[in-house]
């Protein structure tokens, strides 16, 4: 493990692996397979930074999020938060962990209980472990709602009365009300229209600045990630294939997959010269992984070694690690 800085990471993933046993085929005669959603992920998130995870559907990025939130326990490896393995936390400390790490999900209307009033949704975290008076609770609600830029009157309403952007603000308010140290943002803006997306992204960056939050943001949209994150990891079929500082990664992507992703990203710049797609085909199944590098079947720069050996994540440049045989030679 190379140290990424002088700071102690807030969150660290060490060889985290998550396999799901699944039945393939019909009843009974089916084979039991392992769906390797996340397979040996290493990374660390420093306090105050925004850590982005990019990847297509099926890359395992959502499972990463669930592991960090301890909605799942890893099959192997450990998730360390402030140096402690969250899988081993006793219940009192787990409650504390739940206070420290909060989440905002993609589908705001899905993550707000349609049968609860906004004030109850926002206040719910306070009701769970904290002993607070009603007045205190409603005071906190009013404050946080103001901070996320919502009018006070929404507190009495129900989620369906709000627009998409407002719902996402409510979700952020709920996540922020207990002053967590870290927010996990799982595609927080991808369901929003462009104009509203900008509002929410600005709000997120304001919050981070104001409260010194750490973000872990999961998205398939490189534009959004590029705007928000300081460090970016690219995942493919359960593995992190490249990780580094965002600017570095954008300027000098090393992995052929990262390169293809950047190339495929539509940019509203009519002057840009569009080249033919460099990769073909689609992401494979996490049930039947190829031998060697998982990207090899689609890789335009495939070498014989790629179909035999699975490359590990090595430092190719300062603070820039990549898992590709092209860059294995430290020269």
């Amino acid at each position: 493990m190379s140290e990424t800085g002088d700071l102690i990471p807030l969150l660290e993933l060490r060889g985290v692996t998550k396999y799901y046993p699944v039945k393939v085929g019909g009843f009974l005669k089916s084979r039991r397979c392992l769906l390797k959603a996340v397979d040996g992920a290493d990374c660390s998130v420093l306090p105050g930074e925004s850590f982005g995870i990019a990847g297509e559907s099926g890359s395992g990025k959502t499972t990463m999020g669930r592991l960090v939130l301890r909605l799942e326990k890893p099959t192997d490896g450990e998730v360390l938060f402030a140096g402690q393995d969250i899988a081993q936390l006793p219940s009192t400390e787990l409650a504390e962990y739940r206070m420290s790490v909060q989440a905002v999900f993609q589908d705001a209307s899905g993550s707000l209980n349609p049968r609860m009033r906004i004030k109850d949704i926002v206040a719910e975290p306070l009701r769970i472990h904290m002993r607070m008076s009603k007045a205190e609770i409603s005071e906190r609600c009013r404050t946080i709602v103001e901070q996320v830029g919502l009018p006070q009157r929404v507190l009495e309403g129900f989620p369906h009365e709000l627009s998409g952007g407002q719902k996402q603000r409510v979700a952020i308010a709920r996540a922020m009300i207990r002053k967590p140290r870290m927010l996990l943002l799982d595609e927080p803006v991808s369901a929003l229209d462009v104009s509203v997306r900008a509002q929410v992204l600005n709000l997120l960056s304001d919050m981070q600045e104001k409260f010194g939050l750490t973000y872990m943001m999961i998205s398939h949209d490189l534009g959004t990630l590029g705007h928000v994150s300081t460090t970016l990891a690219v995942m493919y079929l359960g593995r992190i294939v490249e990780v580094g500082r965002t600017e570095e990664l954008y300027e000098r992507p090393l992995h052929p997959y990262t390169q293809a992703l950047f190339q495929a990203m539509p940019v509203p710049d009519p002057t840009r010269v569009k080249r033919a797609p460099s990769i073909r085909g689609e992401i494979g199944s996490a049930l039947e992984l190829p031998q060697g590098c998982r990207f090899a079947p689609r890789c335009p720069r495939r070498m014989p070694v790629c179909t035999e050996l699975n490359p590990t994540l090595v430092e190719a440049a300062p603070r820039h690690r990549v898992a590709c045989h092209l860059h294995h030679d430290p020269s």
């Binding site: 297509e56 960056s205 534009g223 590029g226 190339q263 539509p266 940019v267």
Partner: protein, 330 residues
Amino acid sequence: MQYDPVLSVRNLETHCFTPKGVLKAVDGVSFDLHSGQSMGLVGESGSGKSMVCNSIIRLLPRHGVRTVGGQVIFSGRDILGISESEMRRVRGREIGMILQDPLMSLNPVFTVGNQVGEMYRLHPQAEDGRPIHQRVLDVLRKVAIPSPEQRARQYPFQFSGGMRQRTVAAIALAGRPKVLIADEPTTSLDVTIQDQFLCLLKELQEQEGMCLILVTHDLGIVAETCDNVAVMYAGRIVEVGPVREVLMRPAHPYTEALLRAIPKPGGRGTRLYQIDGEPPNLLDPPPGCPFQPRCARAMPICARTTPPMKADENGRAAACWASDIEEVRA
């Protein structure tokens, strides 16, 4: 323009009749589409862009939604006025369509070959005497589906997302339409697959000489795929013109705001341009220009009178009191 447009939409008005009142989903939309041209129809959700397409092909929800005015002139006749059976011959054969979600738009209980072949059975093309099966394989090859013989016998659920969307494209191509409407065809696809599909679509459009209407909310896609772009807001087109000009020098404040609100790599630390507020409730639209409550350049007149489209001779037009096209071009 010296050529007659292939498709000309004139003052199209489609309203939804809800218990709460009339919702003007499409409120006087006009545009022309010339042979071989591709046009991007851009807007946020609720702007009426899909409703425009459904009105053109006359497939509106049965109840409560009606096209109440305007014309859709296709090959010289107003297809809003022809009979349903005539319209059926237009659909698929003259105007094709690709829908948003390829998983949902293929019938789960029929084989892919059957669904593609249905186009040939519905629209027998006299000049082509080859068996349907053969033609199915050809069109599947055309959309780059590998081993089409085997694939044609499979069901949609056995296809991946990108392949499904290619199949939908094959169905559209099988009718050899003059106009292809693609309604957010890549929203459910991953970015690399989206890229592949858009390249294919563009290639096919050029090959077949089709007109393309590409509905999307992503200006990036328009930039890479289309010749012209029309930006919609609250049921109206607010700006229309060649992609290069509109994106480089937007004339309408909304277009401009949209462009500036897109997060870009390396923009960390800077605030995104932010359009405050929410799109208007179309049941109770604001007076005057619909964008005026959110517009940074709003003037008193904007809240009183709806701005007309001001066009130049190149087909570049915008509906805004604040911007003068000539001024922008100058």
